[in-house]
Symmetry: D2
Subunit: 287 residues, 4 copies
């Protein structure tokens, strides 16, 4: 549908939109259920880590005085995050948006603009888990069903293109804005998919789009960046994984990732960074 | 449709399939007509240059004893090339194939296998020209119509994925084969599109696919490579361009490009190259 | 020689060492004199910009409570910067250090450790201008005198190796420290030298060293990063250049660059960045 | 010293110079002795594999009608290779050349030019093994002695610069020539050194030099290329290693590597390749 649920008058708060604000690894997320066979308890986690990167970025920008718009395919998924931000005194609303649909994307941005104003900051955090549950004997690309490829391409390539078409004209006209992409190391080059991994090679297109937009829109004052989050992100679902239990030093703090996004947004425009890689100290950076 | 037009019994000739064997820049090609307002005369050109890279590669593999299958969306486009190969004593047939359609791709490969046998060499040479005629005031990505993006993505991303699904299982089972992609410098990273250029950033996905397939299929004896053709290729339509008239030293010889493809195919498997860039001596290599 | 000039007891202030803290482009710098035929007046510039990046970084870390050690080949060059930092209430001292000499490097670090303690932060900011005044007819590599190459290699390759040998063991043993390199776009790959440019291809080795040290020392808690400063940095000498007068939007603010260094130093160790590129909004990022 | 040992009149044979034509892994090579405790018997190896890449390239160019000049620090090291080439009917001579010394380099090229004429092809194949025998507890960069770094830098950075200064002016004036570098995967980026490996990060400079020379000299008709040999090369010393015995499919055929060099030299100048990576089919390409 696409109506902004938060009704308070936002006055002149700047707007930050987080696309895909919820997490596959939140307490009741899809990956959490896939990996653990059901929901997990997140009450022991700091609130900054309960909804992965999207949630941490949303909380951080809210704390800095932004009205944060969470987008998700189903508003109910974001209810707990929205409540948490409001409890922290932040301004927040939720809009349904499905990256597969051009109408959904355009409708959502029209609704956002009408209710809280145009985005100052756009964080593209949509993910997918297609491929993750293919069995070991179907590791090769030839076993990827076409529907799986199509979904990956919608989230990683066509959807981001449509979002750029929706928000870049306004940012260009206003002469400012940040368009920030959360990505992973799979975006750096094509690699073989290992059993248990998603079909991530289309994420290279998110990085490529960032490169295109950087060259095209920087001179208009719009800051584009691809952020390569090069490790396992703390969240209810990942913290419960055996690997995270055994090697806690490889787990990345979402609040620190959110710091990086806020740092990028506030960089002096004489010194913009267009790709930022974040790697735990205990691991070798991907390339 | 997808029926192989060449009817001779091929006996045990190895098969090379050239997808997109005709050229946008051939005497009656789409780009030729766009740039010159009509067909051009190609009788002064060496036959190796009349159909761009696809035609030169087809002629080269035919000369080396392959049965060459030309694929094109409309068989009539390839008739002159097929005739030329036959005149040179080569074995050749034409199959219609549209990269936008999974059925067309699968049908074409079924027809090829039934008529001449499975491909030993697959050259992915499909191109597109979407974006090339956008006016200067529509240079930015926000002006790219969605349909244009979708076409680019079909040719550069989804189509190649489908072709890989169609041919890699057989190559893997036979323990040999070459899967070679003709690409350009736009595949190396995202760049701004300049007026007169096609929407080429999705070509990064062709290179990324080559990287994935290289990691996945090399050990099975299948040689995958992305070839970056880093300049203007000689052909009826390009030779007539002002830039080629003024700076003939920047024009690349398609027969020499075809040599590179044949060299790749014949490399000893202890020494495989998976990316090959070709640049005219007179210009600085792209990166 | 290598004695620390600042005599105050530093108590438990952490130590930041800036190698090459002065600027070729400061009011009386070598490049300034080369480009403008003499000294320039810097009284109109903010104090943060008077000594280029090295000076800005030194001031920033001093403001954050560090005892800053400036190194330079001749202490007199750093006197004005040291005075400025003291005026701002910062703790600062100067040590002579010549990257060409292993003895000088080792002596300087021994003196620093003895007087103020081991470095928590090491910023490698040494530069050179060899090649900059070769005439247009000597643009090619064949015209570079061997002595010029040797100097470039001392500053960009051998000197940084020696500095790493001097400081990494201590940082490794203490389990913390930042080793940050200021570099430029020439470090990203080999390029042709244009008239007026320095012989910068050896700077690739500074970046390569950062990659080596990142892989080797991160797990010990030492944060290594190569910072690619991708444009013209504001300073007395550069601000007076015609290009900077005509296109002020391409000039980078050294205080903002210093922010980036401080951000890197303070990153949570679960989210370290090992290469950071900074580009003015008005220009296309180098690669 | 630097006198050409082969005295026959070469008439108009083109000249190919192979710097470092012998191998650390030949039957009596330094690495062979280090790894196996003495010389090995090479009588079972094809003659093309007895002196590694340098020997295979030398034999290949001799077979193609070149007068091949072998350079080595001590002429005796190349005697067996020179004899083998002569037995095959090839023209060959040996010149002593030490990359550490500018005088040695310049003297050697003067002697070559005087005796057989200027080089049409220059292959830079010098290697070193510094670092290979450091014990496991000295794996980190801090344990690399300065002398070891200096040797690596002479072979990988300063020596190649001096060779370029010696041969590029002539190639530029004649409007033709190939300057080809044999390199390995360590040249692609800085990596941690593992026990048993040489200090290879300075090899990045050989690649960088190739990039500089490519940009500067291509337009003059001089073809520069960096060849990344991405695996274990067959030779008397390597074939006897346990890893090569257990996994023969990872061993690269030097004759096939030599084919790649000859292919590069004969590429049409409208289609030059400036970096060529060669990887065994059974392994994942380095990057």
């Amino acid at each position: 549908m696409g109506a902004a649920a938060g009704d308070e008058v936002t006055g002149d708060k700047p707007v930050a939109v987080v696309i895909g604000a919820t997490s596959k690894w939140q307490a009741d997320g899809r990956n959490t259920r896939l990996a653990h066979g059901g929901d997990v308890d997140d009450s022991q986690l700091p609130v900054s880590a309960r909804w992965g990167i999207g949630g941490a970025i949303a909380q951080r920008f809210a704390r800095e005085g932004f009205h944060v718009v969470l987008t998700t395919r189903q508003a109910a998924n974001a209810a707990a995050l929205e409540a948490a931000i409001r409890e922290q005194g932040g301004a927040c609303s939720t809009v349904e948006l499905d990256l597969v649909s051009e109408d959904s994307i355009n409708g959502a941005f029209a609704a956002i603009e009408a209710s809280v104003g145009p985005p100052e900051v756009l964080v593209l955090n949509a993910g997918y888990l297609e491929g993750r549950d293919l069995p070991p004997e179907q590791e090769l690309l030839e076993y990827i069903p076409v529907e799986m490829f199509d979904t990956a391409q919608h989230i990683a390539s066509r959807g981001p293109f449509l979002v750029a078409k929706a928000v870049m004209p306004g940012m260009r006209e206003r002469g400012r804005g940040s368009f920030l992409i959360t990505n992973n190391a799979a975006s750096l080059r094509g690699r073989r998919r290992r059993t248990g991994q998603s079909l991530y090679y289309p994420r290279v297109m998110m990085r490529t789009l960032a490169q295109v937009l950087t060259e095209e829109y920087s001179e208009y004052g719009v800051h584009v960046a691809n952020v390569v989050i090069d490790g396992l992100i703390d969240s209810p679902g990942t913290r419960a994984l055996p690997i995270a239990q055994q090697r806690p030093e490889i787990v990345m703090n979402p609040a620190a990732i959110a710091d990086a996004f806020y740092y990028l947004h506030t960089q002096d425009r004489s010194c913009w960074t267009h790709e930022l890689q974040l790697t735990p100290y205990s691991t070798t950076p991907s390339y």
